[in-house]
Subunit: 202 residues, 2 copies
């Protein structure tokens, strides 16, 4: 049987997306499942649910828990964590860059995503600023300013809007989400189940 | 080092509590961690967050996902599942019975809880009805009508209100939740982490 790809839907402002970005390549490779990186924005989806902010800010008890859970989970995964001084940070510019990379099949998309998440959740950097995103690209040996400018072009902005609409159509309501052969899995805790779904019957 | 108990906070109307109720005794025994069963009500906690219904009904995309996830997770755990024709069902009477059992240290509390969850999520029975709760107690060889009557006494109703207030004080915002030596873990997916926390350094 063919193994379907795993679509990895992530949002740069999302804490739990960081946990998956940090490990998805290793665990997917071990399972022999190709990963397709699918950047999108949660903001418009949250707005449809009546929230103008992260639910972790809207519901303080849930937010307090999430930050403690992130500390524990990052320690468990062995990845650095520093609670950002601003939350959520806008992932719009980074997501536009990721959309451009996706549309043009750039091999640096996963490395770029890892670097942005680490900047946001381990280094307290303002990933919402276009200059910071450019600087991250520079640090990967890429022409940051030029890529950020291309990412802000109207047709590429439209790409991100279309990805976010597609996420809504797929029933996605949070991040990270994994889609395998029509099956939706929500949350970093379901990554192993999504991979098992991809390889069942193999 | 002493191993702290694991407090298991559950709500009879909660789908994901079913997953934990079905397996907590086995996994806790294997880890050598004593479990304290802590019934409470989510309704008043949801009301504080502005919801007059389950968030799975308030947010339809999340609800659709949850039912599919429950199907998959029940299959994975090897436990029966039948989507209830009414959701959520009131857990008030069952929680009062569980509070009475807790306050009087009855050994039948875990078995009663398992039977109620199975009635709700595998047999589509109206666990919100006092007669159905009595019938479940009867099937366990207990005097159902008498226990339900005792559970409806004012002092025992007050017990449940106090447990629910206590849950709020502890920062609990959903079910199931696990509390180990001051550390809060939310969701069936964190049961293993809660047990590991109880036994770390042992």
């Amino acid at each position: 049987m063919n193994t379907p790809d795993l679509e990895f839907w992530f949002e740069f402002g999302s804490t739990y997306s960081y946990l998956s970005v940090a490990r998805i390549e290793d665990v997917a490779q071990e399972a022999g499942v190709p990963v397709r990186w699918e950047p999108f924005l949660l903001g418009p989806i949250f707005a449809q649910q009546g929230w103008d902010d992260s639910p972790f800010n809207v519901y303080p008890a849930k937010g307090r828990y999430m930050w403690r859970d992130m500390e524990r989970m990052c320690e468990k995964q062995g990845i650095p964590f520093l609670k950002p001084s601003r939350f959520p940070r806008s992932g719009v510019t980074a997501a536009r860059v990721a959309c451009l990379a996706r549309a043009t099949s750039q091999p640096w998309l996963p490395g770029f995503a890892r670097a942005v998440f680490q900047a946001n959740f381990a280094e307290d950097r303002e990933i919402g600023d276009a200059a910071e995103v450019g600087s991250i690209l520079d640090s990967l040996g890429l022409p940051g300013a030029r890529i950020v400018e291309q990412a802000q072009a109207p047709d590429n902005k439209q790409r991100l809007r279309e990805r976010t609409s597609r996420a809504t159509e797929l029933g996605i309501f949070g991040a990270p989400s994994f889609l395998v052969g029509g099956e939706l899995f929500w949350g970093n805790d379901r990554l192993e189940d999504a991979l098992a779904w991809a390889t069942r019957g193999r």
